[in-house]
Symmetry: C2
């Protein structure tokens, strides 16, 4: 034991340094806060790149500014989906976010949407359009509102806050959106989504009388 | 050096064990998720205890259930304030949360409220009542909504989500509230509050013409 003293000390110190380096290198969970309103901006390049990764960039002739904004960040997070997007939204009428979701669906990402029955039928809602492209949509049949405003990307990144996905809210309201990857937040929201998804299964609708032949 | 080998190793191991114990004991930031609706429950005991800490408990004769619920947790977080509460809410009409805020104000906690101009005048809003007790309230004068739904307790605990502080939302809607203490989230919300608070300073109102004598 005595002969091994300095050697063991050196090995221990080396081991500690390696462990510390690995600990500092580990991927930190995403923690981002976005505040709105976000000025109107051109998102054509983002959507085109997502539709055709690596394709020839086509310049957009519109006069809107390009570049970074809270809205472009939100859109980027959504478009980063590779496997699944679970969306739980009171109001969804933004055409840009609607195009993004259609694009993900066409790319093979599993999209599921839960929304509010009262709002989904209003003029401008994207829900009908998305449903017609084959995306699964379920809605409440309750008196209260389905008032959540969250999405979960790839079962890992939670996007949640006060923001409904409407152009008016994005461009005019004071709103917040958090992007989180800590399991303490993501896991309960995943469970909430599955709970609501099951509960809003059309086979549970009580407005179809069970006595119908 | 050689003679000190085992002793140094022991000291190092002991130091490491102490550091590890301290690291595990450190206060973890609060990370809580609350989902609504929350069943109606009696919060008299909570409010009475906050009004008169250590006072004689007076049993409430109401038939509502007591005990833990998402709403009682939200109320507890709010009542835990010792120094300050900054509230930034689109809609605030819950009488129970209104009483809690009045109580904090009476207890000497600095309360500031930012709200939406269109909603604050509606019947049932708590804003007028709170203002009359001397609590500082500021509101937007914009076209868009002040649609945030957050509060910051003691500059350290952020309460945010989809929930407006209305009894209808609390008891009927699908809603979420996050309670967070990670600085990455709390700091931007503190800055957003200060930014809005300054911007909504009545001296900046443009509906008082600058030419008025």
């Amino acid at each position: 034991m005595r002969a091994g003293g300095p050697g063991a000390l050196l090995a221990l110190a080396l081991g500690l340094a390696l462990a510390l380096a690995a600990w500092r290198r580990r991927r930190r969970p995403l923690r981002e806060v976005l505040f709105f309103p976000s000025r109107p901006s051109c998102t054509e390049a983002l959507l085109a790149e997502a539709a055709e990764p690596g394709g020839e960039p086509r310049p957009c002739p519109c006069p809107l500014p390009r570049g970074d904004s809270p809205f472009s960040r939100l859109l980027r997070r959504l478009l980063s989906a590779r496997r699944s997007v679970d969306i739980c939204l009171f109001a969804f009428s933004s055409p840009q976010l609607g195009r993004a979701v259609q694009l993900l669906h066409r790319r093979g990402v599993r999209v599921r949407i839960v929304t509010d029955a009262q709002y989904m039928g209003l003029r401008g809602s994207q829900i009908g359009l998305l449903r017609r492209t084959g995306i699964q949509v379920r809605h409440d049949q309750e008196g209260g509102y389905m008032h959540h405003k969250f999405a979960i990307v790839d079962g890992r990144t939670l996007i949640t806050g006060s923001l409904n996905w409407t152009t008016h809210a994005i461009q005019n309201n004071r709103e917040n959106v958090l992007v989180l990857e800590d399991a303490e937040y993501v896991k309960p929201f995943l469970e909430e989504f599955e709970r609501i998804w099951e509960e809003y299964n059309p086979s549970n609708y009580t407005f179809f009388s069970k006595d119908d032949k």
